[in-house]
Symmetry: C2
Subunit: 546 residues, 2 copies
């Protein structure tokens, strides 16, 4: 059997290798040594990108579109700049599964011709390069979802979300890596194209399951990316890689055309959503452009809710959840929350504390619902080629109950889920809280292979609340983030397990992300608030202007 | 064991008997003989209601509210008139499970005081009596859902929809009967309070599962009623009883507080919705009043979609589905469709034919999903008291597969459901069809115990499309509705089974209802179109005015 998965892996590696634009590859002897942890400065040092190109890869999607609309940039030079950045990023981080350079450049040229002819942009994402997590189908290309057995599967058409974004002018230039078992694995390692690294510290994971997207954003291989999230899979990569990520309420963004082991499993709905390298504003741009195409008129499971324009306002109450009551966040995260609190108070925003409500209960429900069939469908897919089960895949599987749920047991959990959701929503209302500011993870990031505790993100999946991750602007600093005696008093075996991993040196240089959570279906309000909160915390002028 | 269910049944009967307002009971010797089929004229003949009261029970909710707003009617006299009608109706049809006369009158008096003091109505349903299917919880009252084992269960609070309607001014005066096994049983018989009859022909069923509501509407015991529908349970009773009924898209109306055997079963979502005795306009009034309370801010599974005001327009295409390709409708239904076609064409509305799309496939999916646990949860409830399983309950159960679905099999059916839904929606768009006019049932009604074929309604449940039932104004007429040789050529065993039941004499006098179906989530447009279509078909001036 072993031969089968290895043959499949070689195919996936060949697809990747053949797709890399050779002209932009940096010779191996010019690359930073493997011992260099932070590689984010290498694009400049490599000499592969011009100053103009370096400026482009530092721009937000919003700024790029504006510049293209003024004729200051061409779509072609934009996509070429990001392709160069992506090729270098891939050499350092192994984040891609397939480049689509020729098609992307050809599409950019069409857009340039359109602009030349009409003087207009084709849509709100005109010429914006977007990286795409591999299991989101692209017509004619492999669609393996991280499983060796699926390497020969070819997508019959583009995923519906990609169709919507393409109509708005987006250009897809690179497909990105994901872990074996996909959505429930907050790391990024599989048996096909290997392990993706964190650009800020290559001993760390970029997070998962949209880990290739995390690396893509952190290394600025695209201003926008697309991930999927059923327990934190957009938000952890965004947080671990100093980027922005948005988990919308379920049934807003179209998910037709995704490769998943369990179509029809709807007790916990995964969502598809954006990551951004530069700003919350870009997340909003993405959502607005996608939903303007009215995908609900094709994918009828969606809620027919047009994307509303909502302006940020300081007239809100932000509650800070310092701790979920189960696992205490590491010192860097606590420091970032304290820092954010000070900034928000100084900006005149009402800030209160949030006492968590039954997060262990929420975890009990969602962890039982991730694999209601005791992961037998996933195990069967893995067995088909005999590929090894990776440790974090097995870790995720062990959260499921040991035997498959009966449908009646599944219903009981669905019911408990709905009750919990209603209770949490009522609690936010009765406490007068509009948004919850909280950690995105126990720490700033996880060491490769160590992302074990997901419930700072997964809790918002079971509650189906929209959540935005943004960088605090701070990084892990061993001089500031050592453990004081008073902090380490484990409350449980899980708490102890997590704290035993911690010394600040292991996470040095990792950006510290934070998470802002809104009420169910208040997606627009949540992004508007996150614009303001992130600007205030980062000390950007956008915040001051308001 | 037998003793247990009998004791429970006696309790339910006692609750009912004690609740009947004795002063309005017609002496048994004054009642029409059991052999009299159509009893709709008896309120007038009984002498129990004044002319003014008879006028009130002939008014729509919309007209009643207007009259109360002008001070021409009091809420108290309105509810008393409908209570009188309901007591008589119950004597003839056995449609109630519990009267709430005192509370209703007391509430009506409060409303009258409010109006006297302020000169204003309290809300859009000020003083409107509404009958309520029993399994919709009312605080402090029994909540048995048609099961003997639940007779001692007491609701802790009013169902959320009732709370919304009460805020709008509604008055709940009578609770209505339902069959054993509830939602999947298009008849109305249980072991507690027995069998409900059809007011137009007492050898016929009023339909089910909201059969008590069908009788309530047909006999005009209330201008509005509340039913639930997972396969036709609002629409069949409305059609069988010459009334109006609306199945909204799922997740629009709040269902918290319903008693159901399988909370958390969400592969096929039942919906709660209105029936009306007088007009489509009243269905719209009900929806508008209920959703104005924003129930989605409490029940978070709902879609946060306010009820939109949509005006009827003749600029639409109505496609007539003459036959679902599985079971040919009986002659009266075919005649009513032809009649409607002529009226619509004469009114200048574009009418085309609708070729059904895989209705047998749709039935295969939904019938497998009704009881994914092979009805074991229902059978267990029934076994708890040893109550007999009624024939149509067993009939419904046998649609389920013989062994419980695994969760993986359940997912596969969910996935097929979504694909079918998307395909059907795309087909309506590609054919340029806005609404489908079709039968609500094989015949105008079913003989007691004979409602076996549900797919003229259930198909719109699996497709989750909004559907309105309204009377054609025609009734079954043996002189017009005999079977011609050319009509009876059974296509299948099921078709043969249904046709073997038919002779027009068995259904004489039954009103013939029709069903208008809109696109997923186009609830408001569907009701607006049904206003116009029903007015045109009934030859009412509302149609002519447009």
């Amino acid at each position: 059997m072993a031969a089968i998965w290895k043959t499949q892996a070689l195919k996936a590696q060949s697809i990747l290798r053949e797709s890399i634009p050779k002209q932009w590859i940096v010779p191996v002897d010019k690359l930073p040594p493997p011992t260099q942890l932070n590689v984010t400065d290498f694009p400049r040092k490599s000499g592969m990108l011009s100053e103009r190109e370096l400026a482009i890869t530092g721009m937000s999607a919003t700024a790029l579109v504006a510049a293209m609309g003024e004729g200051k940039l061409s779509a072609e030079e934009v996509v070429v700049a990001f392709l160069k950045q992506a090729v270098i990023g891939h050499q350092l981080l192994n984040f891609a599964t397939e480049f689509m350079a020729e098609k992307a450049i050809s599409r950019a040229k069409e857009l340039d011709q359109y602009f030349e002819k009409t003087g207009k942009l084709i849509g709100p994402l005109h010429g914006v390069p977007i990286s795409v997590k591999e299991h989101i189908g692209i017509k004619g290309l492999t669609l393996n979802g991280g499983y060796a057995t699926w390497v020969d599967d070819i997508a019959m058409e583009d995923a519906l979300l990609l169709q919507c974004l393409a109509k708005a002018g987006a250009v897809f230039h690179v497909r990105t890596n994901q872990p074996q078992s996909l959505m429930e694995h907050l790391c990024c390692s599989n048996n096909l194209t290997g392990t993706t690294l964190n650009p800020f510290n290559r001993t760390l994971t970029p997070g998962g399951s949209s880990g290739g997207e995390g690396a893509s954003m952190g290394f600025k291989c695209a201003p926008l990316g697309i991930g999927t999230d059923i327990g934190g899979s957009i938000r952890c990569p965004a947080a671990f890689c100093g980027a922005y990520g948005f988990r919308p309420t379920a049934r807003r963004n179209p998910s037709s055309g995704l490769k998943l082991p369990e179509p029809g499993h709807e007790s916990i709905l995964g969502v598809i959503g954006p990551l951004a390298s530069q700003s919350v504003e870009d997340l909003d741009l993405f959502q607005r452009a996608a939903l303007a195409q009215e995908p609900w008129d094709i994918e009828t499971s969606l809620v027919p809710a047009p994307w509303r324009r909502v302006s940020p306002t300081k007239d809100m109450t932000v509650a800070i959840m310092w701790d979920d009551g189960c696992v205490r966040p590491y010192p860097p995260v606590a420091r970032a929350l304290l820092y954010a609190q000070e900034k928000l108070l100084a900006a005149g925003i009402k800030v209160v504390d949030w006492e968590p409500y039954k997060h262990a209960h929420g975890w009990e429900i969602i962890s039982s619902l991730y694999f209601p069939d005791a992961a037998s469908s996933q195990r069967a897919l893995i067995a088909e080629t005999g590929e090894p089960i990776l440790p974090l895949t097995e870790w995720a599987f062990q959260y499921s109950r040991s035997v498959p749920l009966t449908v009646a047991e599944n219903w009981e959990l669905n019911f408990q889920r709905d009750v919990y959701r209603d209770e949490y929503h009522a609690l936010m209302k009765s406490r007068g809280v509009d948004f919850i500011l909280c950690p995105a993870y126990v720490g700033a990031a996880a060491v490769l292979g160590e992302s074990h505790y997901w419930n700072y993100t997964a809790i918002w999946n079971i509650l189906d609340q929209p959540a935005v991750v943004f960088p605090s602007g701070l990084i892990v600093d061993p001089t500031l983030d050592s453990v004081r005696d008073s902090e380490y008093q484990p409350r449980s075996a899980i708490d102890e397990r997590e704290w035993k991993k911690y010394t600040p040196e292991r996470y040095a240089g990792a950006p510290i992300g934070l998470q802002l959570v809104g009420k169910h279906f208040r997606d627009e309000e949540t992004l508007a608030a996150a614009k303001l909160v992130s600007a205030v915390v980062l000390g950007r002028t956008e915040g001051a202007k308001l």
